[in-house]
């Protein structure tokens, strides 16, 4: 997982509400469950023995149903809620034992938070909202205005700097919330169901925005969500919480393939796989017939193609740069026309890039009788996706045992 350079390390964190933590801990030690303890003593175990580490630049998603303790967990990281037991380390500093004064300094410099309800100050203009963290930290007006303008520009709201939040739409308001968090240049950004209150379309847009902002950034993001599609889309890793404890931490695909228990498996019911898998994930190069683009003996190619999978060949220039695809009929046509190069035989199937989601591949596959070629961003041939392969992938519904 993560080495010494992890930006946030959470170690054996507990939160016990409404009673003596020690008593709850000893009951937990005896193997009693959360519900049992609540029924016997009235003590609520909010978060139970949670440990994880988040690397710089990582988007770490904490998923769970409501009441699973994910919001409590997030608030213990910046101590909006005091942990009952355990450690939170930020760049090696123990946040959980820090005196109030130091905590305030840390919150001003290192951590920022984005809220589900946006939590903007209605009495402040948009730019003043974006500059809120800087104002609290006492930076001079001109300086914080400049910085607020920069971050508003990053989220595309510079033109609205002088308006008030109540004049903005939900998506725009959350952009302001995002700008407010970015303005303090935090090393850790805590996002509490940040996009859950938005329309599906705007939500996707904001997820893309976050992914874009995270690119080339050293900032860690801890993101709470109850939406698995969202978690799959933005998360580098996902932690799944159940009854206050984490049941599984892994990359989205690994969780999808190897769910730790039935609870995790049930989460994936109805997940849109076409948004999770990318073309590059399922493209296969083994068995693909690669043809040198300089070949002039078209006739000699025919037997090779006839023997190839799907009876097609992939024409590549040096360095596997993808040129096009030929099939047996297109080659025969070219030979009959006495064509001198492969150019005349190329099919009109455009390749898809390895990082496009399967939803884009489906369309390409439906329009073609041949496999869809997949190329890397630099145009190199990665492999191809046949229709059969595509259907097989999508049929892997995780609630069917596999």
């Amino acid at each position: 997982m993560s080495g010494t350079q992890a930006s946030v390390v959470v170690n054996g964190l507990y939160k016990i509400f409404g009673g003596d933590p020690q008593r709850a801990l000893s009951l937990l030690g005896k193997g009693k469950g959360k519900d049992e303890i609540f029924n016997d003593t009235g003590i609520t175990v909010g978060v139970r023995d949670v440990s994880f580490a988040v690397d710089p630049g990582e988007v770490f998603v904490i998923m769970g149903l409501s009441g699973s303790g994910k919001s409590t967990l997030l608030r213990m990281i910046n101590r909006l809620i005091e942990p009952s037991l355990g450690q939170v380390l930020l760049h090696g500093q123990d946040v959980s034992k820090m005196p109030q004064k130091e905590l305030v300094r840390l919150r001003r410099r290192e951590m920022a938070m984005v809220f589900q309800s946006f939590a903007l100050m209605e009495h402040l203009k948009v730019w003043e909202n974006a500059a809120f963290g800087l104002e609290v930290a006492g930076s001079p007006r001109e300086q914080r205005r400049t910085r607020a303008m920069e971050t508003l520009e990053q989220v595309g709201l510079k033109a609205y700097a002088e308006t008030y939040p109540d004049q903005l739409s939900g998506g725009m308001r959350q952009r302001v919330g995002l700008a407010r968090a970015l303005a303090v240049e935090p090393s850790v950004m805590l996002m509490d169901e940040a996009f859950s209150a938005l329309d599906p379309l705007i939500r996707t847009e904001m997820q893309d925005e976050l992914i874009r902002l995270q690119k080339h950034s050293k900032r860690s993001v801890i993101f709470i969500s109850h939406d698995l599609n969202e978690a799959m889309r933005i998360g580098d890793r996902i932690a799944i919480m159940q009854a206050g404890a984490i049941v599984q931490i892994d990359t989205p695909k690994n969780i999808l393939h190897n769910p730790a228990n039935d609870f995790v498996r049930s989460f994936f019911r109805g997940v849109d796989l076409t948004e999770i898998y990318l073309a590059g994930d399922i493209a296969r190069a083994d068995g693909a017939q690669i043809i040198d683009a300089d070949t002039t003996d078209l006739h000699g190619l025919l037997p090779r193609l006839r023997g190839a999978e799907h009876q097609v060949g992939y024409v590549c220039a040096p360095n596997r740069r993808f040129v096009g695809m030929v099939s047996v009929p297109s080659l025969i046509l070219a030979v009959e026309n006495n064509a001198a190069s492969l150019d005349a035989a190329l099919l009109e199937t455009p390749p898809v890039t390895a990082d496009s989601p399967l939803s884009g591949v489906i369309q390409a596959a439906a329009q073609s009788d041949h496999p869809v070629p997949v190329v890397d961003n630099d145009g190199a041939f990665r492999g191809a996706i046949s229709q059969g392969q595509l259907l097989q992938t999508l049929d892997q519904t995780p609630n069917h045992e596999h």
């Binding site: 608030r75 909006l80 920022a112 938070m113 809220f115 100050m121 809120f132 609290v136 930290a137």
Partner: protein, 301 residues
């Protein structure tokens, strides 16, 4: 002491408490009397020193800025009417009395409301006291007030303070408690100290509720003015009282109309400060000259 007839002697207990306070705390009462007396007198003489027409224009301008041109006209007409009825000094006296009482009420009530919002224990303690202050018939305050502070403006102002303070405390408390939890968390998450949280997040967010408390405070103070005139507080209340005592309906009504007009003006202007309209003066002037459908005055005293 009437214990022999079987009554529980609450009345006599209060009597002896008042007597005890009179005997031992007179210096304190003297300080309060001097303080409130000079505040009220300073306000009254300052307002009377300004020529009537100038004060009228100033209030009309304030009405124009905060509310709209219709209400500015109304303010102009009402104040001219007061002057025309020869009730100008009485009106100013009443205004000074109300302002002094309101200032003191707010100086005590707002911090108390904030404190009660932050500490449940304070809230539990303050709540019944406020209930008591608000429901106890206002006349009852007059007698001890007169005994402690003599006759005249000062006891009138003090009785008014006691009677009018509760809504300011209550609505400040309520407003701050109703600040959304996530806003408070946002303040803390970005590193607010408790004081910054109060002044940068809680009070601005609760402004509407707090201003409603201020407004109610002023309205209650005005309604107390007539009663306070019974112990010589003067002002418009005195006219009303004279009307009652001499059965001169006209005189009573003139004083009453004065109180109502003042109430409407103060109400609308203080209410406008609680509005969450973010319009600057220039924007207001712009709307004023581009369309005349500006905020309609709805006559609510």
């Amino acid at each position: 002491m009437n214990t022999e007839d079987g009554r529980i002697p609450i009345g006599s207990a209060i009597d002896s408490l008042v007597e005890f306070l009179l005997n031992h705390f007179q210096p304190l009462f003297d300080v309060i009397t001097t303080g409130i007396g000079s505040l009220t007198n300073a306000l009254a003489s300052a307002l009377l020193w300004v020529p009537g027409w100038l004060l009228t224009l100033a209030l009309a301008a304030l009405a124009l800025w905060r509310v709209g041109w219709r209400f500015a006209l109304f303010t102009l007409a009402s104040l001219s009417l007061l002057a025309g009825m020869n009730l100008w000094p009485e009106s100013i006296n009443t205004l000074a009395l109300v302002l002094a009482a309101t200032l003191v009420s707010l100086a005590i009530g707002l911090p108390l409301g904030i404190w009660a919002a932050r500490r449940d224990a304070v809230d539990r303690l303050v709540r019944p006291v406020l209930d008591f202050m608000q429901t106890m018939p206002a006349f009852v305050y007059l007698i001890p007030a007169a005994m402690f502070f003599g006759l005249g403006r000062v006891p009138g102002v003090i009785a008014t303070i006691i009677f009018s303070m509760p809504p300011a405390v209550r609505l400040t408390n309520l407003g701050i408690r109703q600040v959304p939890k996530e806003l408070v968390e946002a303040g803390q998450a970005f590193g607010c100290t408790p004081m910054q949280l109060l002044f940068k997040v809680q009070i601005p967010t609760a402004k509407k509720s707090i201003m409603a408390g201020v407004n109610q405070n002023i309205m209650l103070a005005l309604s107390m003015v007539v009663i306070a005139s019974m112990i010589g507080a003067g002002g418009l209340g005195k006219e009303v009282l004279r009307g009652i005592q001499r059965l001169e309906v006209g005189v009573g009504f003139e004083g009453g109309i004065g109180v109502v007009l003042l109430a409407i003006i103060l109400d609308r202007i203080t209410q406008s400060f609680g509005d969450t309209h973010h319009r600057s003066i220039t924007q207001r002037l712009k709307t004023l000259f581009t369309r005349n459908t500006d905020s309609q005055w709805t006559g609510r005293p």
